[in-house]
Amino acid sequence: MVSTTLEEKLATVRFRPDEVPHITVDGEICKDCTLHSCVYACPANLFSLLSDGSIVFSHEQCFECGTCYVACNLEGAISWRYPGGGLGVSFRDS
């Protein structure tokens, strides 16, 4: 299939998630955000906006690209570091 859903796309990628999330989102800061750029820009769709205006995040299928914290317009809302050595995404055929 050439046309694929995000789930099908992500199923082709090997992830070995770190036990500790390498990204943390500061809900207090996010409460003031009206843009929610992270929700749109993340290529793995890992950020979700809840009805109460808070952001939830899962790190297991993260590409470690950095787009979320670069797109974010509120300082300190997204804390970002690399997952532990050998963990996270491992591209094989790209």
Partner: protein, 436 residues
């Protein structure tokens, strides 16, 4: 600190492996640190490798052993509107012979191979290891790195930060500030498998020859950026590369842009019948000198994407060559500084001089206004449509009398809402960016 190396290189991508190889060949003890399970595990490019002479100078006849996909003999640049496309398609059979002009490759394989060449030169490769911070002495000079392992301090004469576009090390050292969302793009990519004979027939290729397509215009869904499609041996690498600020403003999802690109009438027949092998995403530093950090400090050099050395100016989309060339210069400057027993910023300034003298900084300085021009609103959203519109008006047939070119052009400019004065100003800007 118990462990010590003359040179510690952070990141085993093309910049890091080149730096490690050169410093090791100069007789220095070198540690090459990679956070992935293997070199290339975290790395994504198109990937087309231009100016391969840079690598040939380090690894003679590298094409005999390096995992390459195809040798590029054809380059196509395609301007798109939602339903049409205008392609400039250049082929040179001579590019299939030495000196090769460019290759396609897959980074997890190529980067692994390149790191092996650094190891063969005497460097020590340490994978699965994250460098969390630089170790600095009282004066602020870099003296080593701290890795996320027990007893993780490693002493170094010189540290080469080849840690990619996010380069937390260059930032920590104060060589650059935060990344600006206007300066970086997000690339989302798929590798799509096609059997070899279908691929070669579809793209009119023979043997190991390959081609690249670059797309501008509506394929990026109104978001500033472009798209690409490269031929590998038995697969296609294709994707959309969009400015992060523009992506956030338009509130569209990158994976939807990718689907829109594949569905474009100019692209759909090229990917038909293929099957998805791997999806990937990565950021690309695209602003050239505007985003370039200071390239060296006391005990520290910055190379490759970490230094913003990706040349993304429409016609050209090149990074691996600049990474290798900058890594090479960094390895050489580090070894020379250590030979003289001084590793302060002044001693390491030879790194930048070398980049200034070679093609790396000459290219970036010469084309300094090109990245902004390429990302400008009209170049992104008006001119591709104007070109395809002109082509359509000239080439369409019908029972009405044919108009001559000037009248067609006037009508198309009016339809695009583009005053002649603006067109002239843009031509001058474009000329400054690309022509003189």
């Amino acid at each position: 600190m118990s462990v010590s190396f003359d040179v510690v290189v952070v990141g085993a991508g093309p910049a890091g492996s080149a730096a490690a190889m050169v410093a090791a060949r100069a007789g220095r003890t070198v540690l090459l640190i990679e956070r992935g399970a293997y070199p290339g595990a975290k790395n994504v490019s198109g990937a087309a490798f231009y100016a391969p002479q840079v690598l040939e100078a380090l690894v003679p006849r590298f094409w005999d052993s390096a995992p390459l996909e195809r040798v590029l003999t054809r380059r196509a640049i395609c301007f798109t509107s939602p339903s049409s496309s205008l392609t400039v398609d250049f082929k040179n059979a001579g590019w299939a012979e030495r000196p090769y002009n460019a290759f396609t490759l897959l980074r997890p394989r190529f980067d692994r191979w390149l790191a092996e060449q650094a190891v063969a030169a005497g460097a020590t490769l340490l994978c699965e290891t994250v460098v969390d911070e630089l170790i600095r002495d009282g004066s602020g000079a870099v003296r080593g790195v701290r890795v996320r392992r027990p007893d993780g301090d490693i002493e170094a004469g010189v540290v080469v930060a080849a840690d990619g576009v996010n380069s937390f090390l260059a930032k920590q050292a104060g060589l650059r500030g935060e990344l600006d969302s206007h300066d970086v793009s997000l690339g989302v990519k798929e590798v799509i498998g096609l059997d070899r004979s279908t691929l070669e027939e579809r793209f009119n290729l023979s043997g190991d020859e390959g081609m690249t397509y670059e797309f501008l215009g509506s394929v990026s869904g109104g978001v500033s950026g472009g798209a690409f499609l490269y031929t590998n041996r038995e697969s296609l690498s294709l994707g959309v590369i969009v400015q992060v600020s523009s992506l956030a403003e338009r509130r569209v999802r990158p994976q939807d842009l990718l689907e829109g690109f594949k569905a474009h009438p100019a692209v759909a027949p090229l990917v038909r019948g293929g099957r998805l092998i791997e999806y990937s995403a990565h950021m690309v530093p695209e602003a050239g000198v505007r985003m370039m950090p200071r390239l060296y400090g006391d005990g520290l050099l910055v190379a490759g994407d970490a230094a913003g050395l990706c040349f993304a100016v429409g016609l050209y989309l090149e990074g691996i060559n600049y990474a290798i060339a900058s890594g090479w210069a960094a390895g050489e400057a580090a070894a020379a500084a250590l030979d003289r027993g001084r590793t302060d910023a002044q001693a390491l300034a030879a790194y930048q001089s070398r980049l200034e003298q070679g093609f790396v900084l000459k290219d970036f300085r010469r084309y300094r206004s090109a990245p902004r021009f390429v990302m400008s609103e009209r170049l992104q959203n008006v001119y591709p449509g104007l070109l395809t519109g002109l082509a359509e008006q000239v080439l369409r047939s019908g029972p009405e009398p044919k108009r001559k070119l000037i009248s067609v052009a006037r009508a198309e400019l009016a339809r695009a809402g583009l005053p002649m004065s603006q067109l002239v100003r843009d031509l001058v800007d474009g000329g400054r960016a690309f022509a003189w």
